[in-house]
């Protein structure tokens, strides 16, 4: 009898032993003479259940997790092939409460398809967006993106359609489409999951963008901390070229789009779009002053469309279903879906794609089940290392760009990092400066010098040295960095620092030198 099994090769699943499970499965199948086909997928994003093993049955896929190598024999004994009962049996994944309440538009195929297979991609609805785009033409595509209300999912939230329109209208012999896949924010992993689990959706989105703006060349700048995503991109690009959906003649349309994945080299600042362009040009990743904006003068001085992974990946769905269908999700001016990444000290961490508007409390308590340590939640940092630390009193804030800005926070890339009551916010504020000092590109003084001075001054506070005066100095310094920095790195470092100071002042006062500092 032939059995089809699905097991992720997503980096998080690998980190939790998926390859060891695959090996154990191979050995057990050989010993029992079973005919097993193992499809390596991405992850569905229920990360506390990884490695999640699924089996194809007449009633749909049945999942088991978290599976360890030692569980394979008992799973086979329990009738894994028929979806038999076992203590690890989850049932149909889509009926799991974690997934059932989600609205998966961008991540609809992630964890389901073989990421390297164009056939599988098509069988699950892939390329319908590109077909619609080729029929609609550049102006039609831009109109669809505008009417969807899509805002850049990289963090700044700029309206995507307006950016696309600018590049479309720019006159040049050569234009570029560049994907910013340098998601370096702690607590975010949606880009990585999508690139590993469904890279063809990103590639399709970029191809649609290329048709819209008239670009024939494109780059995906992928951070080097994601070696598995980089490998998955290269595999998928080669597969798309073989299938004729990418390359000299995209789907027989006569339009060319050549796409290449490039590897970054460990610099957080290259997630800033102008630094990224410098890096792609082979230079130090130093921020460029704007204007000119990259849409008019970007890569090698040519008009360049730069978007984040999730922005491009939202586009195939929008073209297939229409802009208004996408805009029907969300709240206020935050339309469509937001891939939320729940991480840190949380019981059920993972990827949650749903319309904007859930509150932090719903995500942390209802979906995440509170902390993994079982201790009370004390703080959450939303939006990466440049995002604010929120106390429990702000947990009813809805996930919406404007609602977060109103509380002096930022939604950023949708990463939520949970801390229990053992967290020390003075130390987290110190880390924010330390990180900025390590990762500043050095071009502007507030960021380059300010971060170092901030670190020194916070250390004095922690040591109990004139805390009131030194905190006043930190506050003043933060104002200079906010107002005077050239880009978001220096400009937003004050956000975690000041939020920690504002909401958790007790961590900054009167405790002398008892705080152990991070190992240097």
């Amino acid at each position: 009898m032939s059995i089809t099994l699905y097991l992720p090769k997503d980096a998080a699943s690998l980190a939790l032993g998926a390859d060891r499970v695959a090996k154990a499965l191979g050995r057990a199948a050989a010993a029992r003479g079973l005919d097993v086909t193992l499809v390596r997928t991405g992850s569905r994003g229920l990360l506390w259940l990884e490695p999640l093993l699924e089996v194809a049955t007449p009633a749909g896929r049945i999942a088991y997790g978290p599976v360890r190598p030692g569980d394979i024999e008992s799973l086979l004994d329990a009738g894994l092939a028929e979806g038999g009962a076992h203590r690890l049996r989850i049932g149909r994944p889509e009926e799991h409460p974690y997934l059932a309440r989600q609205q998966r538009l961008t991540f609809g195929r992630c964890g389901i398809v073989d990421p390297a297979s164009v056939e599988d991609y098509r069988a699950h609805g892939g390329y319908r967006g590109l077909e619609a785009a080729l029929a609609a033409g550049p102006a039609g595509i831009v109109e669809a993106v505008k009417s969807s209300g899509l805002r850049g999912r990289g963090g700044a939230g700029f309206p995507t359609g307006i950016k696309w329109n600018t590049v479309m209208l720019a006159a040049a012999d050569q234009k570029y489409v560049v994907c910013n896949a340098d998601e370096g924010d702690s607590g975010t992993f949606a880009d990585r999951m999508l690139m590993e689990g469904d890279p063809l959706t990103l590639i399709e989105g970029m191809t649609i963008a290329a048709v819209a703006v008239g670009a024939t060349r494109g780059y995906i700048y992928c951070r080097s901390e994601y070696p598995h995503a980089f490998a998955a991109l290269n595999t998928a690009i080669a597969a798309a070229e073989r299938a004729g959906t990418l390359g000299a003649d995209v789907m027989g349309s006569g339009r060319a789009f050549h796409l290449e994945a490039r590897l970054g080299a460990g610099a957080y600042i290259c997630g800033e779009e102008t630094s990224l362009l410098e890096s792609l040009e082979g230079k130090r990743g130093i921020v460029r002053a704007k204007p000119p904006i990259p849409a008019l003068k970007g890569l090698f001085g040519q008009p360049t469309l730069v978007n984040n992974v999730l922005s491009f990946a939202a586009v195939p769905w929008i073209l297939e279903h229409g802009g208004p269908a996408y805009a029907a999700y969300g709240m206020g001016r935050s339309l469509g879906t937001l891939p939320i990444q729940l991480a840190g000290n949380v019981r059920r961490g993972g990827l949650i794609e749903t319309a904007f508007g859930l509150t932090l409390r719903e995500v942390i308590e209802e979906i995440g089940g509170g902390t993994a340590s079982g201790r009370p939640v004390r703080a959450v940092q939303v939006g990466g290392p440049l995002g604010a630390y929120f106390p429990e009193s702000l947990f009813d804030t809805p996930l919406d760009y404007e609602a977060f800005a109103a509380k002096k926070g930022l939604l950023g890339h949708g990463g939520i990092v949970v801390f229990d009551d053992t967290v020390d916010l003075a130390r987290q504020a110190r880390f924010a400066f330390e990180f900025c000092a390590a990762e500043s590109c050095g071009k502007c003084t507030p960021c380059r010098i300010g971060a170092v001075r901030g670190l020194e001054t916070i250390d004095k506070v922690i040591a109990g040295e004139s805390p009131r005066e030194n905190l006043a100095l930190v506050t003043d310094l933060c104002e200079v960095m906010t107002d005077g920095s050239l880009c978001a790195m220096g400009g937003l470092t004050p956000v975690p620092v000041m939020s920690a100071l504002t909401h958790f002042p007790e961590d900054f006062s009167g405790r002398g030198a008892r705080l152990p500092l991070a190992a240097e």
């Binding site: 702690s186 590897l263 990092v417």
Partner: protein, 165 residues
Amino acid sequence: MPGRDLGQASACEPWDAERAAGIIAGHARREGATLPILHALQETFGYVDAEAVPLIAEALNLSRAEIHGCLTFYHDFRSEPAGRHIVKLCRAEACQAVGADALHAEVLARYDVAWHGTSRDGQVTVEPVFCLGLCACGPAALVDGEPVGRLDLDTLADALTERAA
């Protein structure tokens, strides 16, 4: 696969200027070739030798200062060989939330190294990294390019043993 820092350092070739020149020539016509070249050299030799700088500068018609500036700007590139195994430990907030700082102090003490240092027996180089995208299963690490989640001293030792096998 260009530029993947996945291989064990022990699998690297000794520095050879002629071999390096060949690698550089293979990438020189690409747009913005500097990073792909530096990655390819490091993948081959385990580090980027100072002798590579004038070779790249000449091939790309750039100044030595430009290449040196690029080489030293990015955290990934090493100017001397690393140990047999490279352990990258995530120091970012999500891992901090599950005790990474204390664990890192233990790891550095266990292998008697500072950040970026190599253990005296040449077996392990420990490097800091900011976010591996394994934020829901931290503390996280990359051991010779392979991800490890829910890291502690034992799982790290196991991963190193597995990589050595």
